[in-house]
Amino acid sequence: MSEFLRAYLTVAVFAAFAGLLIAGVLGLSRLIRPNRPTPQKLLTYESGVDPVGSGFSQSQVRYYIFALLFVMFDVEAVFIFPWAMRLELYQVFGLVEMAVFIVILVFGLVYAWRKGVLRWV
């Protein structure tokens, strides 16, 4: 019995059920729904007027900052999890090192905050 199947066999079967449901419903719909495309129907929606320019426009750079901050806190969370699981092993030493870790990361957040990039308007 492989390690993966041991832990995730039921998850895989469950996922297969979910996939079958979606594929089944979409497939059924494909068989019975009408299909009468006209050029107007296939335009993208733009409040009723013909769409102008390309739909793939640029987005704001501040979204990128938030994504990067998220990466920072995601990595932080991943480091904290094994620490939180066995805190009794590390005691005060563990507490101090994690506090240092968190405070350094909070400095990152504070820096972004002070520079005003967390501000939306």
Binding site: M1, S2, E3, F4, L5, A7, Y8, S54, G55, F56, S57, Q58, S59, Q60, V61, R62, Y63, Y64, I65, A67, L68, L69, F70, V71, M72, D74, V75, E76, V78, F79, F81, P82, W83, M85, R86, L89, Y90, G94, E97, V100, F101, I104, L105, F107, G108, L109, Y111, A112, K115, G116, V117
Partner: protein, 184 residues
Amino acid sequence: MDYVVFGIAAVACLVGALGVILASNPVHSALSLVGTLFGIAILFVEEGAHFLAAVQVVVYAGAIVVLFLFVIMLLGVDKAEALEAEPLGGQRPAAAVVAAGSLVLVILLGIRAAEVSNGAKAVGGALNGPGANVAKLGRALFTDYVFAFEITSVLLVIAVVGAVVLARRPDRDEIEITETEAAE
């Protein structure tokens, strides 16, 4: 059973990797990368490294590739990249040399595979079950490698600082702001 799972994961990895380099649309490339990452996560679980597999999905597939997608949307890429334009001179010859070198290396490794690897499971794997595995990882991380661990946080903060400096809206009046800062 092991072989079936390994086969599926390996195929997912390879197809994903090919997709990354062959897809002309950057979003398709990013999605293929997610496929590769999932394949690698499955391989990690096979080796009993459950925590590493979770990290692979949560950090790489969940955060890094999302970051890539944000960059793609930031640039507003809508069509396949034009292959004629070459921003860095001499890129192609260099790439060819590196590719050839890697190929030779892989072939060499393949020939000597029997000496390098005996196909046994990694010794550092799940010795006393999956939970103990995370505990061991934690102990190594928080005692032996504590300095590296703290440096990681500095690295992350530097990344954020860099991004903030690059992305900050130019102040309407740079001098005015500096003066207020000095006054504080």
